[in-house]
């Protein structure tokens, strides 16, 4: 496992951003937050996270729009965990290139496990 475990949380809901910031910081992550896709893209131009936690339904630029733009970026990709309340978003998210899916409301243990898996498999891929 390599050093920077930086997370980008993209969610329009302050309550979710604050909760994930507090919890995942105490779990040893460095947490960045953005209230919508446009802000997330801006942050990505400055910092490279290990995982992106992405809500789908957001103002300004929603999760789908973000995914499309992100795929077209020249930078190497990082795992994306789709975070949504809508069940039918799961398949669609996989189609469009999300690596994992977790439904709200989720258990913190599950979230942390998914994040660890993503980071590990990504690190393996990068190492290969």
């Amino acid at each position: 496992m390599t050093a920077p475990r930086r997370l980008l949380v993209v969610d329009d809901d302050l309550a979710i951003r604050e909760m994930l910031d507090l919890v995942l910081t105490s779990e040893g992550y460095e947490v960045l937050t953005a209230p919508h896709g446009a802000e997330a893209l801006r942050l990505l131009s400055q910092a490279r996270p290990s995982v992106i936690l992405l809500d789908m339904k957001m103002p300004v630029m929603d999760g789908w729009q973000f995914l499309e733009r992100y795929r077209r970026l020249p930078d190497p990709k990082v795992p994306i965990v789709v975070l949504t309340a809508a069940q039918d978003d799961k398949n669609r998210a996989a189609d469009i290139g999300a690596d994992a899916y977790i439904a709200k409301p989720f258990a913190i243990d599950d979230l942390i496990r998914v994040l660890d898996q993503c980071i590990r498999s990504h690190d393996r891929l990068c190492a290969n």
Binding site: A15, V23, A85
Partner: protein, 565 residues
């Protein structure tokens, strides 16, 4: 020469006597028959010996003799030289024949009348063929007029049939149709009565030729089975009255219409009676069988048209209701999905935080007091959000049951609004909220409800300005007896096509772009403001964003006379 002349006279006599097709004979100046020929014998039936010497009036019908026609004819011949006519004459056997008659006065060289030459031709056959022709012409004319009448009737029947097929509204069709029937049957009054839905009464649906000043009772519904009209419906067959019986003349409708003769037919379709079609005349009239046939056929078609129009209308209503029901179901489904989504946010936050706290405790990891406080504050705030959502749901079901009761009393709105603004501040780290208010604005409000309104408007302002920015709240008294609260954001605004609908229950102007609450906030707010006798409107603010404006009266308008002493 003499002998030659005598020979010629003999020859001429022979010629005349042998002519078969003309009766040629001589009369003396008084009209007695002097000569006879073969034609005369053949045409009139007498032989020379029995007729010579008789007066020529013997050939005339008795009525002509009484009128002095034979003498008149001779007088004309004397005066004008010749009399000619066609007329009836009588044979020996008493039978008549149609004769062409020419009577010529004969005078000697001195001009003295010596007698008359009479030539008669039997035109009976020609006359008969002429009469036959006239009769045929007459028949043809009659047939033609019958055909025209039948065609006219057929067109009327067709008109009703077409109306039935075209779902024309009977309201538009009936008056025209009744006029048509009246023209065809040459009747004064035409009326349609329709059975009411429970088949108890016949209601006058449309009528022509009915006096405008008839008493109101003349148009009253007629119980089924009662009177002539009521019986047509229950007995289900047409009737004809050349003379309406005296007791029926007392029936209010027939009486007011002044009907003497009538035909009526039931409006029947598939064994059901929908009403009665009636025509009547004010004078005595002998109706013929085809009149009733025609009326019955028209009645059948009217019934069909009415039935189809009703089915069509019922279908339309059912379709509309189904669409409305479908809309209500979709709206409710959508609401439930939105509500579930809204509940998930606070639950996700609370679950995450509490599980994290437990995880720390299980590991025996100490949490910094500041972090612990942050977590608990967040849990607390989300619990508040949850209870607000639950309250909204309850409010909605209460409003459905019309149970929004206000407890109004004098409140310091400046303080109330300030509390709400402070609370809203804790919901956002991206917005700046400012309050401009006079120090002590008072009004009679239900404090709990009014605070809900303010909170809703602030929530909306935060939600719909996702990029943050300034939210300006103003509390003013534009006139001494009114209070005005304005909440203005610099957000995405309300699309103009949505402006009319934002106060509808469950409505979400931006539901496709991001989560936006239960869609109840503005609906509830407007209900609450309305209960305060106030108004809540939205306007697009100059420079972008939206401004919501609440205006309520300072004092509650208690009903007159119920003010407590």
């Amino acid at each position: 020469m003499q002998a030659q002349a005598g020979e010629q006279t003999d020859l001429f006599r022979l010629l005349v006597s042998s002519v078969r097709d003309y009766a040629i004979f001589l009369l003396d100046p008084q009209g007695h028959i002097r000569s006879w020929n073969t034609g005369a014998q053949r045409i009139k039936g007498y032989n020379a010996s029995e007729i010579i010497g008789k007066h020529f009036s013997i050939f005339y019908p008795a009525t002509d003799i009484r009128r002095g026609k034979p003498d008149y004819e001779l007088r004309v011949a004397i005066e004008e030289g010749v009399y000619e006519e066609e007329g009836w004459r009588v044979r020996k056997d008493g039978s008549r024949f149609w004769a062409n008659v020419v009577i010529t006065a004969l005078r000697d060289a001195t001009g003295t009348l010596v007698g008359f030459a009479k030539v008669t031709r039997d035109l009976t056959e020609r006359k008969q063929s002429e009469e036959e022709r006239a009769r045929l012409l007459d028949l043809e004319r009659q047939a033609r007029s019958d055909a025209e009448l039948a065609l006219d009737r057929l067109r009327s029947i067709q008109m009703v049939t077409e109306a039935a097929l075209a779902h024309l509204s009977m309201g538009r069709l009936l008056p025209e149709l009744l006029n048509r029937i009246g023209e065809i049957l040459l009747t004064d009054v035409v009326a349609v009565f329709m059975a009411d839905p429970d088949q108890q009464r016949l209601v006058l649906e449309s009528v022509t030729g009915f006096p405008a000043d008839a008493p109101a009772g003349a148009r009253a519904a007629i119980p089924m089975g009662q009177g002539i009209i009521g019986r047509i419906a229950t007995e289900r067959h047409g009737i004809v009255f050349d003379d309406v019986p005296p007791e029926a003349l007392a029936e209010p409708f027939l009486n007011a219409a002044g009907i003497h003769s009538l035909i009526g037919a039931p409006l029947g379709v598939e064994g059901r009676v929908l009403g009665v079609l009636l025509v009547g005349t004010r004078r005595h009239r002998r109706f013929i069988a085809t009149d009733l046939d025609f009326l019955q056929i028209v009645a059948d078609r009217v019934a069909l048209a009415v039935d189809r129009a009703r089915i069509y209308e019922a279908e339309q209503v059912a379709r509309r209701e189904a669409a409305e029901a479908g809309y209500a179901v979709r709206q409710r489904d959508e609401f439930l999905s939105v509500a579930a989504h809204e509940l998930k946010t606070p639950v996700t936050s609370m679950r995450g935080l509490s599980e994290w706290l437990l995880r720390m405790a299980d590991r025996g990891t100490e949490i910094e007091p500041s972090q612990q406080r942050r977590a608990l504050t967040m849990i607390h705030r989300q619990a508040q959000n949850l209870s607000r959502l639950v309250t909204q749901l309850l409010e909605m079901s209460r409003l459905d049951a019309d149970r929004l009761m206000l407890e109004r009393q004098d409140e310091n709105l400046t303080e109330l609004v300030r509390r709400a603004v402070d609370q809203a501040h804790t919901q956002t780290d991206q917005h700046e909220l400012t309050l401009t208010a006079a120090s002590d604005v008072h009004a009679s409000v239900d404090a709990f409800r009014f605070e809900q309104v303010v909170t809703n408007l602030l929530d909306n302002a935060i939600k719909y300005s996702p990029d943050g920015g300034l939210i300006e709240v103003e509390l003013t008294q534009p006139v001494p007896d009114r209070v005005r609260l304005a909440v203005r954001d610099h957000g995405i605004g309300i699309p103009s096509e949505q402006q009319a609908r934002i106060f509808e229950r469950f409505h979400q102007a931006h539901k496709n772009s991001h989560r936006s609450g239960l869609g109840l906030g503005l609906y509830l707010s407007q209900q609450i403001v309305g209960e305060h006798d106030g108004s809540l409107v939205a306007e697009t603010a100059s420079g972008g964003g939206t401004r919501f404006i609440v205006e309520i009266p300072v004092a509650s308008s208690a009903p007159v006379g119920s003010t407590p002493a």
